[in-house]
Symmetry: C5
Subunit: 303 residues, 5 copies
Amino acid sequence: MIVRPRPHWLHLLFVRHGSILHLILPQLLCALAFAIGVTVLHGQVLQWKIPLNFVPFSLIGLTLAIFLGFRNGTSYSRWWEARVLWGTLLVECRAAMRHALTLVDGPEHAAVLARRLIALAHALRHQLRRSDASADLARLLPPEEAARVGAARFPAAMLLQMAGEWLGEMRAQGRVAAPLVPVLEAPLAQLGSALGGCERIASTPIPFTYSVIIHRTIYCYVLLLPFGLVDAIGPMTPVIVAFIAYTFFALEALGSELEEPFGLAANDLALDSLCWTIETAVLESLGRSDGPPQPQARNFQLT
Amino acid sequence: MIVRPRPHWLHLLFVRHGSILHLILPQLLCALAFAIGVTVLHGQVLQWKIPLNFVPFSLIGLTLAIFLGFRNGTSYSRWWEARVLWGTLLVECRAAMRHALTLVDGPEHAAVLARRLIALAHALRHQLRRSDASADLARLLPPEEAARVGAARFPAAMLLQMAGEWLGEMRAQGRVAAPLVPVLEAPLAQLGSALGGCERIASTPIPFTYSVIIHRTIYCYVLLLPFGLVDAIGPMTPVIVAFIAYTFFALEALGSELEEPFGLAANDLALDSLCWTIETAVLESLGRSDGPPQPQARNFQLT
Amino acid sequence: MIVRPRPHWLHLLFVRHGSILHLILPQLLCALAFAIGVTVLHGQVLQWKIPLNFVPFSLIGLTLAIFLGFRNGTSYSRWWEARVLWGTLLVECRAAMRHALTLVDGPEHAAVLARRLIALAHALRHQLRRSDASADLARLLPPEEAARVGAARFPAAMLLQMAGEWLGEMRAQGRVAAPLVPVLEAPLAQLGSALGGCERIASTPIPFTYSVIIHRTIYCYVLLLPFGLVDAIGPMTPVIVAFIAYTFFALEALGSELEEPFGLAANDLALDSLCWTIETAVLESLGRSDGPPQPQARNFQLT
Amino acid sequence: MIVRPRPHWLHLLFVRHGSILHLILPQLLCALAFAIGVTVLHGQVLQWKIPLNFVPFSLIGLTLAIFLGFRNGTSYSRWWEARVLWGTLLVECRAAMRHALTLVDGPEHAAVLARRLIALAHALRHQLRRSDASADLARLLPPEEAARVGAARFPAAMLLQMAGEWLGEMRAQGRVAAPLVPVLEAPLAQLGSALGGCERIASTPIPFTYSVIIHRTIYCYVLLLPFGLVDAIGPMTPVIVAFIAYTFFALEALGSELEEPFGLAANDLALDSLCWTIETAVLESLGRSDGPPQPQARNFQLT
Amino acid sequence: MIVRPRPHWLHLLFVRHGSILHLILPQLLCALAFAIGVTVLHGQVLQWKIPLNFVPFSLIGLTLAIFLGFRNGTSYSRWWEARVLWGTLLVECRAAMRHALTLVDGPEHAAVLARRLIALAHALRHQLRRSDASADLARLLPPEEAARVGAARFPAAMLLQMAGEWLGEMRAQGRVAAPLVPVLEAPLAQLGSALGGCERIASTPIPFTYSVIIHRTIYCYVLLLPFGLVDAIGPMTPVIVAFIAYTFFALEALGSELEEPFGLAANDLALDSLCWTIETAVLESLGRSDGPPQPQARNFQLT
């Protein structure tokens, strides 16, 4: 995630970090070169003048707008839903700790729940990014618990079950009255939903066929565009083609980044920071402030 | 569902699996042939020149954009809602198992609930796809239970009721305290909602009249288009008509696939995989890993 | 509701059932006749040539698109929300029966609840369609209960209250433990919300002023359009005017049908079938299969 | 709120009640007079011909469509959310009465709750419309309760608190078992949310700056439009300008009415009728039918 | 937040407070000056006539509309969600007080909860605005509590935990029966969600790359526009360019204000007033009316 104060409007025209230009440069240069070629040849291919004007592009614009607007809106919705789900993780970890500390006889037992919740956040992050969780698990959990989680196919769900086991033990030991169990279970149910929501976003992309149709339509459009403009605006054709291609390619590339919000691209969610926040908040509820140091942005970017 | 890593931008222009081209090829060829005919005849029909230019197509574009945008957005919403409902199935099966294992005296009874939940997912899949559930039911349930489910008009709802009966028995045997029953009931209520939501999507299509209006508008548009373009762009008319027809037909065909998300078309939901995930997750909560093998994608496609 | 398999793309161009053409034929013929008149007179009225071209229609299209898109989206949302509410009725009737059968001592009492729930669905259907519920009430309820419901201003709400009275009696008789009452109350609360939601949609149309503005704008547009086209496309003017008018009128007529989803028009909800499903599902939960026969589609239409 | 059956399509073109024309007539006549002036002078101001064509209006249309579509959608959403919240009031008043009558020992105490709920609806109506609630409070409540509510800064919230006090008394007197209190509290919590939602809509308009930008853009557009059209369509200019101005002004005026849904304008919510429905429904749950007479529409309008 | 009655339509054209003009004046004057220069030079740069017409601007308008509509809608959604969350704070503080006063033995203890809830609202306001909360905390809390909150990294979450501790003490002292604890916990859980939602909006901006792309596209558009218009409308070019630039810049600036709804800009939320409302409502529930004076609008603006 890119975090930077909004630059002055002149500066914003030329910022480098946060621009998506470097991702689409090859395509953009191809489009520009092709448009220059068409302009130089006055729209002729093998002595034959391609007859085109702006009309077809207006008409194609109709469906293209639907596709691009849909793709952009859907990608952003996925990104924002993922952010909301991680916000829910934080909120419910706090709630679970509040209950454990105030409604259970013997608040010293809350530390066991705390470490399982913190580990849950880290395990989910690793699961979503397909990275190795073992270092974090070893740091946070006793060896046998870390081994049990490490062997699970769904590590985050296993940690949630272990949080449920903690509650079961508290109940069995009579430390929590039966009518209070629903209160303590509620955050766990919410955590389960948030966890399942993240898995859903990670495992179900936007239907692949959309990408194919949008991609083909955009490239055909950009390929044909110089022939449609060259008669009307002559040498300005490459400038305009590059400008239009820039907006198309940028929209497609940004949608592609946001669509999978758990990655490490510039605009993806800062899961490292979110895990740090959860860890710090859970520890603070215990009155501790000995958590790891806060992740810092590098080139205005948090991971 | 098509699962494949995003290809390089050049490769994406020519992928075969995931494209929808094969579904719309007949219409597309018809449109192309017709446009070629019109171009060859210079827009004349029986010696009479059809007088048309681009203006009517801009004006028709107004309502067409509304129709197509609506159809696309609504179809996708149905598809995504269906996916969310199946995600809920997974989440609530896990929650029900967590409760059964931690809040009920005698966790060995959880196995009975587990097999009913797994059978529920499979039965719902077969119900939505109108396929035969008996093999899966026989694999998962004791004969008398399988018979009872097989005879039911709503097999998934019957399995949910049997999950409720399990809870009623646990309560009657005193294995679960009365104040805990609401906790154990909550996932069953959620499962009931998810199940009802799937039935709703499967039984209620987008009003059929939309399909008729959109279909007719698109085909009239494509039929008239060559007459409107031929004077301005001459021999490029067939190329542009085919391009525009491709975007229209693809949008319609994709909407038609997504509208009924429980089928077996390329972009429909991978219910087989989702059932496998639910089965594996429920078994893992019991500490078992002896579930069936994971379904593999064939030609990048999961069913 | 129209239920039919999607016809072949050629057949879909000419289907009769499901088309909305018969509803808008008078207006469409008026528009066509007017456009033919204008074309014959070459756009002259009393020797005065009306000077118009396509430009005003592009500009008017701006607000027209907003109005039509809004109207279409809002009408569909009302229709779909109504469908979701009826889906909730089914889900919660099943949940109430599951609780009555598994959490109440003496499952034979569930039959009383069952008949009140079935009657609730039928009473709501009649209330929304302003039809006479007495035959259905007499079929389902004992005479004194039927009389009480028949005398009520809000019959469905009265039946919900009677379902609550059943729960109150079960509690008073000690057949259900106090901590379980919240579980049994939950579906009743959901039924109350669904019922209130249906009443809300039925009693609150889309603000009438929208209909007036949209209607006037469309008809002025269609009235002026021939003058704007006749100079450019001559004898094709009536064809194009009829085509554009068809899309406008069809969009308005379909929106008008979906806006009030509880009626008997072709695209309205199939409340008869939904009531049948609820009745069958409730009876099935009791192990009975002696409900009424399933309503059959007539000309592909369910009511 | 305007309630009238949908008139015939010819009649709908000329209805008076429900049209918004009388609100925008001054601006519309100004725009028309200005356009006539420009047409008579052939677009010249002080001998200088203003050079304009339709192009700028197409380009401005881009942002104008965004503004108008946003304003229209947001205003309607506020109006509909307000309606949903009042629907919730009705649903939860019914639920509270159902619980009071079936889950409390001594159903005669429910009358106290009933009058507080009815008074709550009326007090909220007066609070939202900034009208004097004292007559309604005096009619519904004992003097000391009316005085307490009348002195409160948030009268509706005070009545909700008094409903909570009723529940507290029932519990203190042992008329309701502790595990049932959550059931009886749930509707009160929902009423609190609905009440807060209404206060939120009433106290937070759409950001004022939107109104300013939209207003200025529309009026500049309409002011410049005759110069852009007069060369192309000559004497038809005033007709088209008036038509386009009508759609802009009507959209703005309707948005302005719906944005504040609790007022007394033609399309605002019929709070009087909604309060009557709540009062009647609450009394009906007590078996009484002696409520006030139903408000009747005047000129098709309910207040 | 700007609160003013809607001015007359003539007055609204010239209001100063509430306009966003002063924020975009520099850019606007630059654009105007540039357009005047281009007009004077008849579109020539260094003796070379830049060949452009309106066509490219129509085509660019396609993606620009998607970007601007998305940005505007998303910014408003964030603003409105933030408002809803603060409305939830008010609703749940009232609910918590209602429970504390009616369901706890010894209503005099509610004062402790009251001051923690009031402090929570103020602490959240300061946290979101990054201002110093110590004066407000000292005013509202005993010194040791103020110190504990002041030392916390998440002060609002700390106050919520302290509200939970109050509930835990009430339970430990036997002042609240176990089955009632879920009722009293519910508002705290809602407060935790609202608080987390505000933190989420404050910490996660719209992806920065959107700002970059939109900004660059708008400025390129405005830079090239005079060359595209000067041949067609000559001396009117600067007027139209300034008009179009005004709508673009205003949309961007307003989106930028609403995107971060917790600041002090003209259209940001009036957190001071919202905190005052919460404080007054909580005190009123205790029967007190000795809260601070109501914040008054200055130049129609509440902070």
